[in-house]
């Protein structure tokens, strides 16, 4: 089945590329420019890359986001809270459990505050809460699709495994530091009502999943297209291995700089990965690329601003510090291993 889909994508890529070339030829003629660039391998490579990867990524996004939303409809945060709060999972087990639940629980940065308050209010330890808070946005379905589509499933799995590991370790450290008093006081004063967890019907699950797919696509399509377009241009014109001498394994600062650049890039996570996939082809080592992507998804400026509502500056700083250090360590580690 996959080869049939691939065949259709390649056929469509051919027709779209042809159409675009006709359009470009017309525009170049209009300005009396030399159209020979349209015959070059660089141009053909870039255009093919752009159409093929755009269609592939959007198709994968639609299918995988749909499946993930169905699975997620069984794990609303209210249920996660109950599972963690019943006291069955304390200590290390609690952190592991929280990080794993972070993968399946629906989460966007806008619900970080309510989820944080809900967890703390129901007596879940701060360290366990952080394990959840870190893994939830970092290990998300959009990153999964982009990594799978552009790097293959091995790298996608590696990303998930490292993301969960970072969440567990960072949560344990924050728990050990006993920073409960650096949570804003009002959080402890909120009394949460008990809500009955509704069990949606299958019809509702499907409808909500379809709705969610549309919502995600609407939000990220410009970034994906711009990201793939830039990736396509690099694919056509930048020679393989070109980056190795600047950001290769020999440069001890590469991981560090990559993590720093990733911090302000949050909403572009979907657009960043196609560029990163090209950067690795140009010679950026995988560890550097992984830590860059983690920094994009987990260390984002908007998320920090939202978390500041519940965390005092000191705890927020500790959180950012631990995350940055773990992501950097992971980058160097993978640069050595892979």
């Amino acid at each position: 089945m996959f080869s049939a889909i691939d065949w259709i994508l390649q056929e469509l890529t051919f027709y779209f590329s042809y159409g675009l070339t006709v359009l470009f030829r017309w525009v170049l003629d209009l300005f009396g420019a030399n159209p020979s660039i349209l015959e070059s391998n660089q141009y053909k490579g870039a255009v093919n890359f752009f159409f093929y990867d755009t269609m592939k990524i959007f198709l994968m996004l639609a299918v995988i986001v749909f499946i993930v939303s169905i699975i997620r409809s069984f794990f609303p945060p209210e249920r996660t809270k109950r599972l963690l709060g019943e006291g069955k999972a304390r200590g290390l087990l609690g952190n592991i459990f929280a990080a794993l639940l972070g993968i399946v629980t629906p989460f966007c940065s806008c619900s970080a505050v309510p989820i944080f308050i809900g967890f703390v209010e129901s007596g879940i330890p701060l360290g366990v809460t952080f394990s959840f808070l870190i893994s939830s946005p970092m290990v998300n379905e959009v990153a999964l699709v982009m990594l799978w589509g552009l790097f293959g499933w091995q790298i996608a799995l590696l990303y998930i495994a490292t993301g969960v590991t970072v969440a567990i370790i960072a949560g344990i450290i924050i728990g050990k530091l006993k920073m409960e008093r650096y949570v804003e006081e009002y959080v402890y004063n909120i009394k949460m009502g008990d809500v009955e967890i509704e069990n949606p019907t299958w019809k509702q699950r499907f409808r909500d999943a379809g709705y969610y797919v549309l919502e995600i696509l609407k939000k990220i399509w410009p970034y994906v297209i711009i990201g793939i377009a830039i990736g396509g241009i690099m694919h056509g014109w930048a020679p393989e291995g070109w980056l190795a001498k600047y950001a290769g394994k020999d440069n001890p600062f590469a991981v560090f700089v990559a993590v720093l650049i990733g911090i302000p890039l949050y909403s572009n996570a979907a657009g960043t990965i196609p560029i990163v996939s090209e950067l690795t082809r140009l010679g950026m080592p995988m560890g550097t690329a992984l830590s860059f992507m983690m920094s994009v998804t987990a260390l984002s400026l908007p998320e920090m601003i939202i978390l500041r509502k519940v965390l005092k500056p000191k705890l927020l700083a500790v959180f950012i510090g631990i995350m940055a250090i773990s992501i950097i360590i992971i980058g160097y580690l993978f640069n050595i291993i892979i």
């Binding site: 609303p76 209210e78 629906p106 806008c110 619900s111 809900g118 209010e121 809500v195 009955e196 509702q204």
Partner: protein, 79 residues
């Protein structure tokens, strides 16, 4: 009857509010639709995902936008 839309002002909350107002109008039932944006009040209902709809102080749906028909059913259940 009192209908509350819980949410911190995101696009989905506005959409849900519009749907609830339409449902009330079509059912022709005396009801007020109000918006709750205060995080502490929202949490007071036990809601962790917005938007949520609360009818007569009971949470009917959270974290999703129910259809107009579903909202009508929630209202009729409370009548």
């Amino acid at each position: 009857m009192n209908i509350k839309i819980l949410g911190s002002g995101c696009a989905n909350c506005k959409k849900l509010q519009a749907l609830a107002e339409e449902a009330v109008k079509e059912l022709d039932i005396p009801a007020t639709v109000e918006k709750v944006e205060d995080m502490q009040k929202i949490m007071g209902y036990g809601v962790m995902r917005t938007p949520a709809v609360v009818i007569n102080e009971r949470v009917k749906a959270s974290g999703r936008i129910p259809t107009k028909d579903e909202i009508k059913k929630y209202i009729q259940d409370e009548v």
